[in-house]
Amino acid sequence: MFENKEQFKADFETRIIEKYGRSVQESHISEQFDILGTMVRDYASLNWKETKEKVVANQSKQMVYFSMEFLLGKMMYNNLQNLHLYDIAKEGLKDFNINIEDLMALESDAGLGNGGLGRLAACFMDSLTSLNYPAHGNSIRYQYGFFKQKIENNKQIEIPDNWLNYGNVWEIRKPKHAVNIKFYGHVVAHQLNEKRMVFTTENCEYVKAVPYDMPMIGYNGKTVTTLRLWSAEPAVENLPKHKDFEEYLRETTEISRSLYPDDSTQHGKILRLKQQYFFVSAGIYSCIKAHMRRYKNIHNIHEKYVFQLNDTHPALAIPEMMRILLDEYYLEWDESWNIVSNMMCYTNHTILSEALEKWPVEYIQSLLPRIYMIIEEINRRFIIYAKSHNVSDDKLKNMLIIKDGLVYMANLAIVGSYSVNGVARLHTKILMEEEMVDFHNLYPNKFNNKTNGITHRRWLCYANPELKAFLDKYLSKDFIEDPTILNELMNYVDDYNIQEEFLEVKNKRKEILADYIKNKTGIEVDTNSIFDVQVKRLHAYKRQLLNCLYIIYLYQQILAHPENDIYPQTFIFSAKAAPSYYFAKKVIQLINCMAKVINNDPRVNKKIKIIFLENYEVSLSEIVIPGSDISEQISLAGKEASGTGNMKFMMNGAITLGTLDGANVEISELVGTDNCFIFGLTSKEVKELKNSNTYNAFKTYMENKELKAVVDSLVNGTWHEKLDEFKAIYDELLFKNDEYLLLVDFNDYLRAHKDIEKCYQDRHLWAKKCLINIAKSAYFSSDRTIEEYVRDIWKIKKV
């Protein structure tokens, strides 16, 4: 433990010698990092232990957050700050001539996630522990996170993300808590005695799930909860009889090898299913073991545990829990169902039907035969329940859990949970009134909204210390523990000097970003230009392409009317496309090609620059967002469940340019339509347009000369010498009828951009708007979100 610099130095030195057998001076930077991390982790261990003991003593109810992704990013800075150790460590290391920044740069992002869903889970862990709730995370310890992106030849190349290269200093391997997971096999009904029989799975393959625990250190470090990550290893005591060991080893370790394996093949799909069952079964087993050890009574487990299922990836938790209660504790169906359905809560993140998980019956039946049997029974009882509540056959068809040879995981999750929540008000409204209206009518009390949030500690306080320092000056107290304090900023938004100070802070961050850009890409950008930023996953519904169309428009305008004075704009993109997503990868290529052309064209490159930052990850986000002016949130209304990037920008003093989609709606309500730039069709208008079947993209394209010119540039050699290089994108717009209505929103988007251009030049007006955004961003702290979950759904108590 170190209370001061001297203790820190002594401890540090001793540990280096003990572990690496060298003096500090001789030690390697990776060794220094390892020791620093270990010290922090050990420092937290005492509270880790105490948190566990308090939970036992108070017989607290605990929440376990099941998520396939935890996009943690780097933990060192976050943990040091939460523990108030940063300064001590920094100073101490300085005495050894070690720059703490260098050490921290060595840490790999724990990129165990893809986008918003994974980052939400990580933010939640931070809020849960900072708010002192006994809540833990459960996921897979992927050996390789989401791929590392490189841009070569303007195209995305995927490289394995070897984040464990220097090891994960935060984790502790706990082999004593290993669980054997069963796959395949046959379900056999055995007689136990004259009254009872039990289903067992025989001739199955075992995979050993070994947990690695990471401490989730809350603000002040008082509460430390656990993120348990499971790793797949061969079960050497139980090797399959008819399989070669090498093959078995390969198949086993594959399970925790990488996030999002290629699911375009059957092998990939089955692997994903294995991953899902793997961490769900291990996680549940863990909880039950702990519960039985403590209480020796299975019947009250739903009073002591609640499981939050992040999307449908962990939905197998429902039949798995049933399986354990039925087959291992011999409970009857009704009691088991009562327990399970009072333990499970489901968060829905999408209404895009192609994103709703469906598994072919054969996959589940072959991989998890007993689970499949249970799902069939759940389906059967659901049908009886629905029919007894006068659900018509037509409606019932769309609610079935098993239909046409597919298992609909969302339906399973809804039927088996007592709470189903959407992640933004609009999203939840769409769920309740449209996509899941029949379920809502059948289960009126299940559906509720929990608008997403982000942890203001990481995303404001630690990522943007300059802004924090600025805010601390004027707010009555430190808002790090109570983000609602930020609201006080409203009292100062009209203050000219404060606006000036803010602009300096923002400029400082823009310079840091510009340096970063120069460093990474060699391109110099003008910090006076509008930093217009779109950083998120690359997906058609997020319409990075619309952004591109605007840039092309600008480009063509400048060329056509060089005399017009267009205010300089720097367009910053960062995004990864799923490896098998052809269209998205094409858009990335387009952006990079556009960047090449525009950045090197002296006619325009003083006015427009395009930057594509490769390998979008949490750490990159922490640099880009604070230095942004405009936050592009331009998904087609009704498609983005919530978005969380939008909240980060808002909190860091960037203004939203967006549609009324997801949480944008709530943002615009909080700040007022004056203080954000809203454009485009509303969700209702989109629906009406789609339903009317009158939209003809080709017609729209033909009728708008400027738009036509923009779209034509895709195939006339402007961006690539091969004319058909971007034909796929062109076809999406015109011949596939522009599914995401880019051409419809184009004009309004243009108009919004013009507004921005004008407004930006009035610096103080702009600053005021930014300040209002910051002030109102308190609502979007995940602390608020968590308190809502606790109050409405989990009903757990602080430790």
Partner: protein
């Protein structure tokens, strides 16, 4: 000087005297009248002469040669003639010794006897009193006015001019090793059977028969040393294994069988009743048909004990609602010539050709001739006696094909009139006897013998292949010969397209006392499979028996892997080979539970008792799925069982298969037993080496 030369006279035909004479003699005197004799054969030691003379039955003929040497005419092959049969038919029901305190009346049918005595031992004193010929039908009679309650007796009869001393063919009991017949006071062997808990039983397809051997049941001492090898072993209750599982009578109740078939309990030769452990024998060696085996009683020397103990055994079973079937070995005697009936009336009761060569279709030396009037009467009388006096509920006829159709039908009708629940079945193998094939009670004539049932060898071999020595490697469908899939369907359907017009006649079995046990068979035919898989095959075979149309027949212990250590004919092997090892109930208790479950399900669903061809055709369907998996399904069962459908899958392969019902069916049974929880599935996995059963319930609107 008296010279002993060969001089014998026989009557084979009605009108011929056959003389074997050592010497030449052309004229013989028959009852002092001279007749010319025709020389018909010359042998080295003697010549054969024939005299044509119409002979009658009640005259004694003395033949003399020219030197007044005498030979009495012995009736020989003539006893097989229709005339003899008709002439001496005695149809009354009073043969044997009828006891009362004041007197005992003896009646014995001895058409060839000229004189007779009753020799009896009472209070250690021996008495001999003369019998009198009391009827033209050859019955001798005597009434003794004493209380002969514990007397032992023999008949002394001069048959064909020679004295024989025999037990009474109608004797109710005897002492050890049937040395003597015993007089039985019926009042002393009355057991109160009013406490039986027998439920109504009408249809043989509702029976679940289990074959057991009295000695094997108790010879491992688990039921107590005191009842080792006895009838009384069946009366012991609350006997348990180490793991507290039921054995003995409790085990039979536990299983839920309806009928217990006991291997021969009628008197047999091959075990010394005074030293019963000296040899082992199943008992297919009849000493007599009218007494019980003494080695199964606790005191073979007291003739009353075996009767009482047998009745106690039957009563104990009846109290558990288990009916009793006796194994009747009415097809031969252990001693071809020295058995009681043959001594009294040589050749009459045996099948014999005109060359006096005994028919040996039984391969035991002789074949009973039921195609004679008294031969038939004797069997019918004995069959009735056990039903009346012992309250038995059915018979299993050993080698029924030796006997004639008419006798079997008469037995059935008479016994059924006494006991409405009576069932009759037997082995219908076509043995090479002298009886006209069209008259034999064999499988070939099954149609003429309806409703009597037959052991179905086609079923047995289709399901698991042959079990006798040379063919142990052969497989049936359930243990891996997939070419037999279609045949499997046939046998599940009551073999209607092969043997029978009604499933009531099919005794479906996969193991019995003969040949290798199923466990031992699988060791050879499926030696490549592991123990767990072979166990599945045992269970699947039991499912085939219980869930096929016809009558299910089980062999005691099949479910707990009864083994005879590879022996395929253990009739005379040691106790340690044949004994039921009750400890195996612990080892295989899950199998026992499974079998119990199968039995319960068979009883629950009436569809399994469908028997008429018409009814079956209405409801029975089948499909042979991929990998030669047999699917059998019954439809339109609303009126029969209050359900829509019942479906069974039999998968004897290593392949996992899938089946989609497209609607919810209830899973009710697997090879490991009944499914107790409510389990419904619509898309199922058919496991390797499995049997599964599903029903579709009627949807309530």
């Amino acid at each position: 000087m008296k010279q002993t030369i060969l001089f014998e006279a026989y009557q084979d035909k009605k009108d011929t005297i056959l003389i074997y004479y050592q010497g030449i003699n052309n004229t013989f005197y028959v009852n002092k009248k001279p007749y010319k004799a025709k020389l018909i054969k010359k042998e080295e030691k003697y010549n054969t002469y024939e005299i044509e003379l119409l002979l009658d039955f009640n005259t004694t003929y003395i033949i003399e040669d020219s030197n007044l040497r005498k030979a009495t005419l012995k009736r020989r092959y003539i006893v097989k003639s229709k005339e003899f049969d008709d002439y001496y038919f005695y149809d009354k029901n009073d043969l044997g010794a009828t006891y009362s305190k004041e007197k005992t009346t003896f009646k014995v049918w001895a058409p060839l006897a000229t004189e007779g005595y009753v020799k009896y031992i009472l209070d250690n004193k021996t008495y001999v009193e003369a019998l009198n010929l009391s009827s033209d039908s050859g019955v001798f009679e005597l009434t003794i006015y004493k209380d002969l309650e514990h007397a032992l007796y023999h008949y002394l009869l001069k048959v064909n001019d020679e004295w024989v001393e025999v037990n009474d063919p109608y004797g109710y009991s005897c002492n050890a090793n049937s040395a003597y017949s015993a007089i039985i006071n019926q009042d002393l062997v009355n057991i109160d059977t009013s406490d039986n808990l027998l439920e109504e039983f009408k249809d043989i397809t509702k029976a679940i028969i289990c074959e057991a051997n009295v000695r094997d049941f108790s010879s491992d001492n688990s039921l107590g040393k005191d009842v080792n090898n006895t009838f009384l072993a069946f009366t012991k209750e609350n006997m348990k294994t180490k793991n507290q599982h039921p054995i003995g009578l409790d085990y039979l109740s536990f299983l839920g069988i309806t009928h217990l078939q006991l291997m021969p309990i009628l008197d047999f030769i091959t075990v010394d009743e005074n030293d019963k452990k000296r040899t082992y024998n199943w008992g297919y060696d009849p000493a007599s048909y009218s007494c019980l085996e003494g080695s199964y009683s606790t005191n073979p020397n007291d003739p009353y004990v075996r009767i009482i103990e047998a009745k106690q055994m039957i009563r104990a079973l009846h109290k558990r609602n288990i009916r009793v079937v006796l194994d009747l070995v009415f097809n031969h005697f252990y001693y071809s010539y020295e058995n009681i009936l043959n001594q009294i009336t040589p050749y009459y009761f045996l099948q014999v050709d005109d060359k006096l060569v005994l028919s040996n279709g039984s391969f035991c030396g002789n074949d009973y001739d039921s195609n004679t009037k008294m031969g038939k009467k004797y069997l019918v009388d004995m069959a009735i006696r056990y039903v009346k006096d012992y309250h038995v509920d059915g018979y299993r006829m050993d080698l029924m094909g030796i006997l004639d159709i008419d006798t079997i039908q008469t037995i059935y009708n008479e016994c059924k009139a006494i006991n409405p629940s009576f069932i009759l079945y037997g082995e219908g193998w076509n043995m090479p006897t002298l009886l006209n094939e069209a008259k034999r009670a064999t499988l070939l004539n099954a149609n003429k013998l309806y409703p009597i049932a037959f052991f179905n060898d086609y079923f047995r071999e289709t399901v698991k292949g042959k079990s006798f020595d040379r063919a142990l490697k052969e497989k049936g469908y359930v243990n891996g010969n997939l070419d037999l899939a279609y045949q499997m369907v046939n046998v599940m359907k009551g073999s209607l397209d092969n043997y029978f017009k009604d499933a009531r006649q099919s005794i479906n079995y996969i193991e019995c006392h003969d040949n290798a046990t199923l466990h031992d068979k699988l060791e050879i035919s499926n030696e490549d499979l592991d123990a767990s898989t072979k166990n599945n095959i045992v269970l699947m075979s039991l499912c085939s028996v219980l869930f096929s149309l016809g009558v299910p027949f089980l062999h005691m212990g099949c479910e707990f892997h009864r083994t005879k250590k590879g022996n395929t004919n253990s009739y005379n092997l040691d106790d340690h080979i044949n004994a039921i090892d009750w400890k195996l109930v612990d080892t295989y208790f899950e199998n026992c539970l499974a079998l119990k479950g199968f039995i319960r399900i068979r009883k629950k669903y009436n569809v399994f008792s469908l028997h008429s061809k018409e009814e079956i055709e209405k409801h029975f369907h089948y499909q042979i799925l991929d990998n030669q998996i047999v699917k059998i399904f019954y439809k339109d069962l609303q009126d029969i069982d209050g359900i829509d459908e019942l479906i069974m899958f039999i998968n004897p392969t290593n392949n996992t298969s899938h089946y989609n019902f497209y609607q919810y069916f209830k899973f009710i049974c697997s090879e490991h037993g009944p499914i107790r929880d409510e389990v419904y599935s619509s898309n199922i996995v058919i496991n390797p080496y499995s049997f599964s059963m599903y029903i579709k319930e009627i949807e309530r609107k």
